[in-house]
């Protein structure tokens, strides 16, 4: 059985749901950020798979351009997110998101 678009999409959806479970179920803020990076990678995988398989025998580069910008934004998000986590840790001595409930009314 040759590898086609379906295989890549199923793989990406499995990775996305693993990341979704981690983002919902973790208490450590760094763990949540890691799960979100996993979800972003899964989304990039679908874009690259579509750009490979939409036209037979060709690779459309629009999906690749999208992925380049997603990588830029993912790096930016990780940097700011980890800076916020460091700041929270410095003030409250914890990175447990259940204990950081300052804005919860």
């Amino acid at each position: 059985m040759s590898i086609g678009l379906t295989h890549y999409l199923v793989l990406a959806s499995v990775l996305f749901c693993i990341g979704l479970y981690g983002a919902l179920a973790k208490r450590n803020a760094v763990g949540i950020l890691m799960s979100i990076e996993l979800m972003l990678s899964a989304a990039c995988l679908t874009l690259i798979a579509f750009s490979r398989y939409v036209v037979v025998g060709k690779v459309l580069l629009t999906g690749h351009i999208f992925v380049v910008f997603i990588m830029v934004v993912a790096a930016a998000e990780a940097a700011v997110g980890l800076a916020i986590i460091l700041s929270i840790y410095r003030r409250r001595r914890t990175v447990d998101v259940d204990e950081v409930n300052l804005m919860k009314w």
Binding site: T6, H7, L11, A25, R27, R90, D98
Partner: protein, 173 residues
Amino acid sequence: MVMAIAFWILAVVAVGAALMVVWLRDIFRAALCLILCFLAIAGIYVTLNADFLAAAQVLVYVGAIAILILFAIMLTRQYQKGNPGSWMRVPAFFVAGFLMLIMVASIVATAWGTGWPRFDAAPGAGQVTVGAPTTGAISRVLFGDGYVILFEIAGVLLLAVVIGALVIARPKE
């Protein structure tokens, strides 16, 4: 055939490493599994004829984001406490499993290859043949096809992120 074998091996490694990321209680080992997962995804990009993005994945995710995460884990010093699940664990499992069932079922049930007239982009406009290197073609699309302004905005975004991260993480005196 080689691509099929490579795909299966890399897919198993990626899914296994992703499961380890959410299952392991030691968050430091979870971050190392995340690096393994990113490397496997870069290999999957290679099987999709995306050589430039595979290299960018290794450089950006493994080289920058994963190292940043490792630094954050060590600076926050909670890796002894581990990576416990919250009260949301059981509902999150059902939500994620349900979503995965829906997505896999709809992907498998969709007829991706129809006999209808295919979408063909204009010849030469941002496409390469399968097996050809993509780096030069990506640069031509990125800098010559209307994406230049987005490229500049991405540069401004990165500058703002550098300044913002410095300001947020700076110790208060």
